[in-house]
């Protein structure tokens, strides 16, 4: 893993799935403006296991939210899969997310009234996939995360690890270009967290999907191909390594 200058790295990559240019985000807190991101520019290459690290409140989650199009920057441009998502209207951003981006949340965030199968199937309904193909893809994904036997169970009948597996299956089932995972192992014990990381690594290797994590889990950092370190809303380091 070699150390590179973040500004140079940001402009060097031609095959970036995510390209941020001068992205800033300022929140208004009462009469005070709080800068969550301060002009971050970076490129994240395709098919990599990328990790954004930083202390709590450093801006990791905000960065991921902006990349995922669920938050908008107050400055700069965000290109994901070649699309400047700042140019898109709200519905178009939603459609873009439905097709290209998968989310994995720290709190799993499964729809509680749907079974594991139905939760995984949900994103395929949003992209209008035919029923037969939908069913095959859903079962295949559940099989891949080792939950074929729990397909009919609701989230409250699953353990934390199982829920996160369902969330991973849900994020990957539509074959997105990018999966954004915000602290995916934070709510799991270390053994379960390790198995979840192993699962994501295995699935990523097979699907070649770009994973971008926000984490301060050392286990997860050790698997990273790309590591972006931010502090106080600014990119302070970028390390690249591992296989593409």
């Amino acid at each position: 893993m070699g150390k590179t200058d973040p500004l140079q790295a940001a402009t060097a990559a031609d095959n970036a799935v995510v390209r941020l240019s001068g992205v800033a985000k300022t929140y208004r807190s009462g009469a005070v403006d709080v800068a969550a991101l301060k002009g971050i520019s970076l490129d994240i290459p395709y098919h990599r296991f990328s990790v954004v690290i930083g202390a709590s409140g450093s801006g990791k989650t905000t960065l991921l939210n902006i990349i995922g199009g669920i938050d908008s920057p107050t400055g700069g441009t965000v290109e994901v899969c070649g699309q400047n998502i700042g140019e898109l209207a709200d519905d178009a951003v939603s459609d873009f997310r439905a097709r290209n981006i998968g989310f994995i949340f720290q709190t799993f965030s499964l729809v509680p009234v749907l079974s594991a199968y139905e939760n995984v199937e949900y994103p395929l309904l949003l992209v209008g996939m035919a029923p037969a193909e939908r069913r095959a893809r859903t079962l295949e994904m559940l099989e891949a995360v080792g939950l074929a036997g729990q397909a009919r169970q609701r989230p409250n009948e699953l353990s934390g690890g199982q829920r996160q597996r369902v969330a991973i299956a849900r994020a990957l089932v539509k074959g997105p270009q990018v999966v954004l995972a915000d602290e995916p192992t934070a709510n799991l014990d270390s053994a379960t967290g390790a198995s979840i990381i192993e699962l994501m690594r295995r699935v990523q290797a097979k699907s070649r999907t770009t994973f971008i994590f926000a984490t301060h889990d050392p286990q997860l950092m050790s698997h990273a191909d790309e590591t972006f370190a931010i502090r106080d809303g600014a990119l302070i380091d970028h390390r690249s390594g591992g296989s593409q």
């Binding site: 939210n65 995922g68 669920i70 938050d71 709200d90 519905d91 939603s94 459609d95 873009f96 997310r97 439905a98 097709r99 981006i101 989310f103 949340f105 709190t107 965030s109 499964l110 729809v111 509680p112 009234v113 749907l114 139905e118 949900y122 994103p123 309904l125 949003l126 992209v127 849900r170």
Partner: protein, 468 residues
């Protein structure tokens, strides 16, 4: 849509107590609206049946009679009325709609009982009719809301001098004992000499009445009264009427003045030896729904044939019917509005709580790519579902309660009626009422979900995801 319904239904089950309370409010609204609506429908049907049995659906008058005829009915007689009746009866459009077509003669005058024991007189409002037609009209019961039909033989086509009078008039004329009327006081003896009653009628008129009575069939059963009226030419005329019985009209003023007599006798009284006319031609239709078409056709027919005739429906002739309909319609509307407001607030409250509890879920599915309208649709479907389920339960309960009450044999005296009729709630026979109440409440519940659903759809995704 299947996914929306699935999620909506499961979320209702997830908060089963809250959903039950809200659904109960909707069901109570539907129940109240349908039971009261069924009761009102039955009142309307009963009133309509009562009126149609008595005065038919439509009455044809000479132009001007409706506004001015009550002062001098004889001046507005329809001449050659049989020709007009034939024209109407044989018309290819209106003819098949008609169940009974019959002439009537309205008249006013003085009724007197000048028998030896009593000397009493009273102004009257009379109607001359054909007894057999009257009997056929009394059998009309399109909605099953009338009193059970019992044949009334007190008037007959074969007896041209026999009629009926209102209970009040019978009382005033001192016929209580003669007609064997219950709860009917005898006339007080006038002050002065009991044997020399102070007659209110001029002696020459009384003599005329006595002569007319002597000429008539004196051997008939029932007391006799004399009817004095001015003929169409203005001369006084008297006929004798055998009172076959008394009947209540449901309104005291009418009871005190009503006289029904065979048409020929009324015509003899009003027209004497002149041409016999009628003041009205009554049409009773087979079905009330034909009324507008029949009325329009009659108007066209009169215009084509240059007849100086006017047609009025029973609603115009009995303003009381219209007033009752308006009053009950207003009460029904008021109840429907109150129920609608209760349902509105119940559903708004429930959906607002649902949105608050599921804020994180809203953020999650928005992040997955669901559009704002998808979120709106989710909560609107939930509102519609709770409304539809509640209204269906309410409608089913209303149907069961109405069926139970209808078989319980309860009776009541509706406005304008003199005797008790079965109490019924016409819920099952009113599909429009059922569908209207159901759809109305489901719509209110759906609309009530709009505001919370809009709030849910406008939530910033990141804020929703942060919500705990």
């Amino acid at each position: 849509m299947t996914l929306l319904l699935k999620i909506a239904f499961r979320n209702l089950l997830r908060n089963v107590r809250r959903s039950t309370m809200t659904g109960s409010a909707v069901a109570a609204g539907a129940l109240a609206m349908l039971l009261f609506g069924g009761f009102v429908s039955y009142i309307f049907a009963g009133l309509e049946t009562n009126n149609v049995q008595r005065i038919g659906h439509l009455t044809i008058f000479r132009q001007g009679y409706f506004l001015l005829g009550s002062g001098n009915p004889a001046a507005y007689g329809i001449d050659k009325y049989q020709d007009a009746m034939n024209l109407i009866e044989h018309d290819s459009v209106v003819g098949p709609m008609i169940r009974v077509i019959t002439p009537t003669q309205s008249l006013v005058g003085i009724a007197g009982n000048f028998s030896g024991e009593v000397d009493a007189s009273k102004t009257f409002l009379g109607v001359g009719l054909i007894p057999s037609d009257r009997e056929r009209m009394r059998q009309w019961d399109e909605f099953g809301a009338g009193r059970p039909y019992t044949a009334d033989s007190r008037m007959s086509d074969r007896d041209p001098s026999r009629g009926l009078i209102g209970v009040g008039l019978a009382r005033v004329l001192g016929l209580c004992a003669a007609l064997d009327m219950p709860n009917c006081p005898s006339l007080p003896t006038p002050a002065g000499s009991a044997g020399q009653a102070a007659s209110s009628v001029r002696p020459d008129i009384a003599n005329l009445a006595l002569r007319d009575a002597a000429a008539g069939d004196a051997g008939k059963a029932g007391p006799r009264i004399d009817l004095l009226a001015a003929t169409a030419g203005g001369a006084p005329n008297v006929v004798s009427l055998t009172v076959g019985g008394s009947e209540s009209q449901g309104v005291k003023e009418l009871d005190d003045n009503y006289v029904a007599m065979p048409l020929a006798l009324a015509q003899q009284l009003v027209y004497g030896r002149g041409e016999h006319k009628v003041t009205g031609i009554v049409l009773q239709l087979r079905r009330s729904e034909d009324l507008p078409a029949a009325r329009a056709r009659l108007a066209a027919l009169f215009q084509q044939n240059h007849l100086d005739l006017d047609v009025r429906d029973f609603g115009e002739l009995t303003p009381f019917y219209g007033q009752v309909v308006k009053m009950f319609s207003f009460i029904f509307l008021f109840i429907a509005l109150v129920m609608g407001v209760i349902v509105l607030f119940a559903v708004v409250n429930t959906m607002t709580m649902n949105v608050m509890e599921r804020t994180n879920e809203i953020g999650t599915i928005r992040a997955m790519g669901v559009r704002r309208n998808g979120i709106r649709a989710q909560f609107i479907v939930e509102g519609a579902l709770i409304g539809a389920i509640g209204a269906t339960i309410g409608a089913a309960l209303a149907y069961l309660i109405a069926a139970t009450l209808n078989h319980a044999g309860l009776t009541w005296i509706p406005p304008g009626n003199a005797s008790a009729v079965p109490l019924r709630l016409d819920v099952a026979g009113r599909p429009l009422l059922m569908i209207g109440a159901w759809a109305g409440l489901a719509l209110v519940a759906t609309l009530a979900a709009l505001l919370p659903s809009n709030r849910a759809a406008r939530l910033p995704v990141v804020d929703a995801l942060r919500h705990v």
